[in-house]
């Protein structure tokens, strides 16, 4: 007599074999298939639905996304061109200016406009990092993939 446990084990083996990820049922599992009509029917249905699904295709996009995306891509491209070395420079200037509020430091050599630009760029890039999009699944990030 076939138990549900046998059926489930055999079906899982059949599924893996159909997907090319395992060997077909052997030994008692193969014997089970010869006696269990339900599992044979399940196997046929799985084969049929797999064959049907492999013929599925995606419909062509009804609207091209590029016109809407182009502006955002160009904007992202402009942001990416800001030199990364400005970040540490801006942070140093920022810390320097904060410390000057409390301690009598010498006046920095950098021109005030240069200081202002470095701080502004640093803050802008740091804010960009804080708002950075996720580029991998949270589960993958946890696992360090």
């Amino acid at each position: 007599m076939n138990s549900n446990t046998d059926c489930e084990r055999v079906r899982r083996t059949l599924m893996a074999a159909l997907d090319g990820e395992g060997d077909p049922p052997a030994g008692p599992d193969r014997d089970h298939l010869t006696t269990c009509a339900e599992c044979r029917r399940w196997q046929e249905e799985l084969h049929a639905v797999t064959a049907r699904a492999q013929r599925l295709s995606y419909p062509a996009a009804q609207a091209d996304l590029w016109p809407a995306l182009e502006g955002r891509i160009r904007e992202a491209g402009q942001r990416r061109r800001v030199p990364r070395w400005l970040v540490p420079m801006g942070v140093i200037v920022l810390v320097w200016r904060v410390l000057q509020l409390f301690i009598d430091f010498p006046i920095p050599m950098l021109h005030p406009i240069g200081q202002l630009a470095a701080v502004a760029v640093a803050l802008w890039l740091i804010a960009g990092q804080l708002l950075a999009i996720e580029t991998s699944a949270p589960e993958l990030q946890k696992r360090g993939v």
Binding site: M15, V49, P59, I133
Partner: protein
């Protein structure tokens, strides 16, 4: 132009080269986003956002790997964010294809309908396995779950798909 050449061109500042990725993958991405969000507007927003994410992260893309598998993780994140933003309510009527899509046969539409009646998680597995042909390992990496869990969830999802199809035909 192939994906590797397009990614190299993008890295040298040729933004127009990114158009290659959008044109090549937008239909597939929109179909997947519809399955995951079950909302037409959310799917369009998530797909656009994912393409922008991909452009920003293109420096981390390994051209030796398939672009879509890499992109899909970002698309999936965007779809989940859209769903979270909207709450847990899912609209069951939104399918990756409609009866008016050119080239979609009645048989294909029936199968899409059955897939559309699955939960987004089940539908995602069925589509990535059956249509995309991803291996268990590729599914495991993209979905962030162990290979054994992929097998179990895929088994359950297929059981439910078969039940949907037999229910629809009876």
């Amino acid at each position: 132009m192939d994906d590797a050449a397009a990614s190299r061109a993008c890295r040298t500042g040729n933004l127009e080269a990114f158009r290659h990725f959008v044109e090549r993958y937008q239909a597939r991405a929109l179909a997947h986003a519809r399955l995951l969000t079950r909302n037409e507007a959310d799917a369009a927003d998530a797909t656009q956002d994912a393409f922008v994410d991909a452009f920003r992260a293109l420096g981390a893309f390994d051209p030796a790997r398939p672009f879509y598998a890499w992109f899909y993780v970002m698309l999936r994140n965007r779809c989940y964010k859209q769903r979270t933003r909207r709450g847990t309510r899912l609209e069951s009527g939104v399918l990756p294809v409609t009866a008016v899509d050119p080239g979609v046969s009645a048989e294909q539409l029936d199968l899409w309908r059955a897939i559309g009646r699955l939960t987004p998680d089940d539908a995602e597995l069925v589509v990535l396995k059956h249509i995309e042909g991803w291996t268990y390992q590729e599914l495991s990496t993209a979905l962030g779950i162990p290979r054994g869990t992929v097998m179990s969830r895929l088994y359950e999802a297929r059981q439910r798909l078969l039940a949907q199809l037999s229910g629809a035909s009876s």
